[in-house]
């Protein structure tokens, strides 16, 4: 339970160790609650354990230890309770694969039937959902002829067709063009009223745009979890942006080294010639940062204090080992 809101998904001590390859620990003693009605973003760099976690939640993988429950019912591959837990869940895989010999409409209909819809209802909902994801014109075409982006849209349609109370999406926008990505994010945001959405991504902007809560995974461990604003308040340090005038590479390098040696500077990131300085003592920074810049002889085009973003939180918590790879 999270506050007064019941958990749609609950993981307790969830652990997954793959045999072979030295026994890789993909998920380590994960305790996680996804509150009902929330849009929950599972964030992490590549290999953090996001996909494995989602596969454990959907019952496609078996945990080495720990339990997953959906609406209080334990998830397992074959028990009646496991089946009941999976009823009313829409799932989209990271790399969706479907029957190429079926048409898009047939595939979405099949998904609806397997989720308990009557034949006529499944047929009607299939067309409605395909229209929603922009595939109405291709509904009669064989899936084998669909592009990667179309398959992703089809995957979203089959996940949505039974109007699930829980939607689990693994990297749902990874193959979509910008327009498709925008449309899907709007769609997910609109589902907030009727369903719980748990989705994984390594795209921070998507999380910031639609999520109520965020969980950050790294090396199979939950680094932190909570409402987005809370995370920003707890982990985001004050930031200053410094844009040096061009042609001062040596001086900027000296300035960077000096800043890194300053006690109240938590970190300095350099990106496209711009410096982003995070500070642990705001008062000391406001008084001492500019004098350091002046002493280094660096001329600035821009000097401003900026609002920390999820990217800054993410990089602070896991980014040092991943070199910002996860930031899109």
């Amino acid at each position: 339970m999270t506050g007064e809101i019941p958990a749609a998904v609950s993981c307790r001590g969830l652990t997954k160790r793959f045999t072979g390859n030295g026994g890789v620990l993909a998920v380590a003693a994960l305790d996680l609650d996804v509150p009902a009605g929330s849009v929950f973003g599972l964030l992490g760099p590549n290999g953090a354990g996001k996909t494995t976690t989602l596969r454990l939640i959907t019952g496609l993988a078996r945990p080495t230890a720990g339990v997953v429950s959906i609406d209080g019912r334990p998830v397992s591959a074959s028990t009646d309770q496991g089946l009941a837990a999976r009823r009313g869940i829409g799932v989209l895989d990271q790399d969706p694969r479907y029957y190429g010999w079926m048409s898009g409409r047939e595939l979405v209909e099949l998904a609806g039937r397997l989720q308990g819809l009557a034949a006529s209802e499944a047929r009607a909902r299939a067309m409605e959902t395909l229209g929603l994801v922009g595939l109405a014109d291709a509904a009669g075409r064989r899936v084998a002829g669909y592009s990667g982006g179309m398959r992703q849209r089809l995957g979203i349609a089959q996940a949505l067709v039974a109007r699930p109370r829980l939607l689990i999406l693994d990297e749902p926008v990874s193959s979509l063009d910008p327009e498709g990505r925008r449309d899907l994010l709007v769609l997910i945001a609109e589902l907030r009223a009727s369903a719980t959405v748990l989705f994984s991504t390594h795209v921070l902007a998507d999380i910031e745009r639609i999520c109520d809560r965020v969980g950050i995974l790294d090396h199979g461990r939950l680094v932190t979890e909570g409402p987005l604003d809370d995370l920003l308040a707890r982990f985001a340090l004050p930031l200053y942006r410094l844009d040096p005038e061009p042609g001062q590479d040596a001086a900027v390098e000296t300035l960077t080294a000096t800043l890194r040696g300053t006690p109240w500077v938590d970190g300095v990131r350099s990106h496209e010639g711009r410096l982003v300085v995070s500070v642990s003592d705001e008062r000391a920074a406001s008084a001492g940062l500019l004098p350091i810049v002046v002493a280094a002889g660096v001329r600035l085009a821009v000097f401003e204090r900026v609002r920390p973003s999820l990217e800054d939180v993410f990089l602070r918590l896991v980014g040092s080992e991943n070199g910002g790879e996860a930031v899109a």
Binding site: S78, I89, R97, L114
Partner: protein
């Protein structure tokens, strides 16, 4: 089982759309057509091919029972080949392509997934075996004389059971190994080993090969002891049930 009937219909539709059913039906049709023809004209063909080398050798005159015997032999070879091909990728290919994960993320039990596939393979084999036996009976009636319909129905059922055994063993390989090639190897290996073992006195009647004798006799209108039919039927049914039971047990424990 949850979702079983929906998946069964999907499997049959897949068999049709991917041409598996038409191709196997065509093969069985050919078997049904060619077997009585071969039984009728093989002696003539042998005589024509051997010429003077057959002097002193009596080539028997073909009789209607030869057609039933030839049909059984052809089904046991080509039919078994088709059964193994139908079952080899049943689970392995779906796991490999990721489509099993699509189905099993829904409210579908793993048992239902397996049973639907097995039922569909059994259904395809039943349709095709019926086709071969019906065509074989008609051609036998044209080329020789009509044989007892009841005996040919019995032969069809026993032939189907034998083919289902090879399909079940291959299906087990497909489920346990997750490789279509390994499953085919297991199916053909089982076919070879159990066919050889069928020649061992007192053992053959407990193997699928033990179905041959009573099936051919019944088709030819020759009475057989009930135990000669019941023993191999029960033994083969148990073999199929064990193979499928282990398949379900194994699949429930697998990662997708």
């Amino acid at each position: 089982m949850s979702g079983g009937s929906i998946l069964f219909r999907k499997e049959l539709l897949e068999s049709w759309r991917t041409m598996r059913l038409p191709i196997v039906a065509g093969l069985f049709l050919l078997v049904g057509l060619s077997s009585p023809l071969l039984a009728k004209f093989l002696p003539e063909i042998v005589k024509a091919a051997a010429g003077d080398q057959l002097v002193g050798v009596v080539v028997p005159t073909p009789v209607p029972a030869d057609a039933a015997d030839q049909l059984w032999k052809n089904l046991a070879q080509f039919g078994a080949f088709a059964a193994i091909v139908l079952a080899m990728g049943a689970v392995a290919t779906e796991r490999d392509r990721g489509t099993a994960a699509f189905i099993l993320s829904k409210s579908v039990s793993r048992g239902a997934f397996i049973v639907a596939k097995v039922a569909a393979i059994g259904g395809v084999l039943a349709v095709c075996t019926t086709l071969a036996v019906v065509v074989g009976w008609v051609y036998t009636a044209i080329l020789f004389e009509p044989l007892p319909v009841g005996g040919w129905i019995a032969m069809a059922i026993l032939a189907w059971l034998g083919l289902a055994a090879w399909a079940a063993l291959t299906f087990l390989g497909s489920t346990v190994t997750g490789s279509a090639a390994a499953a085919a190897g297991l199916g053909f290996g089982a076919l070879l080993v159990l066919s050889i073992a069928s020649a061992i006195p007192n053992l053959g009647r407990f193997l699928p090969g033990g179905l041959a004798g009573p099936a051919i006799a019944l088709a030819a209108g020759v009475p057989v002891e009930a135990s000669d039919v019941v023993t191999p039927v029960i033994a083969t049914s148990v073999l199929i049930a064990v193979a499928l039971g282990v398949s379900v047990w194994s699949f429930r424990r697998q990662e997708l």
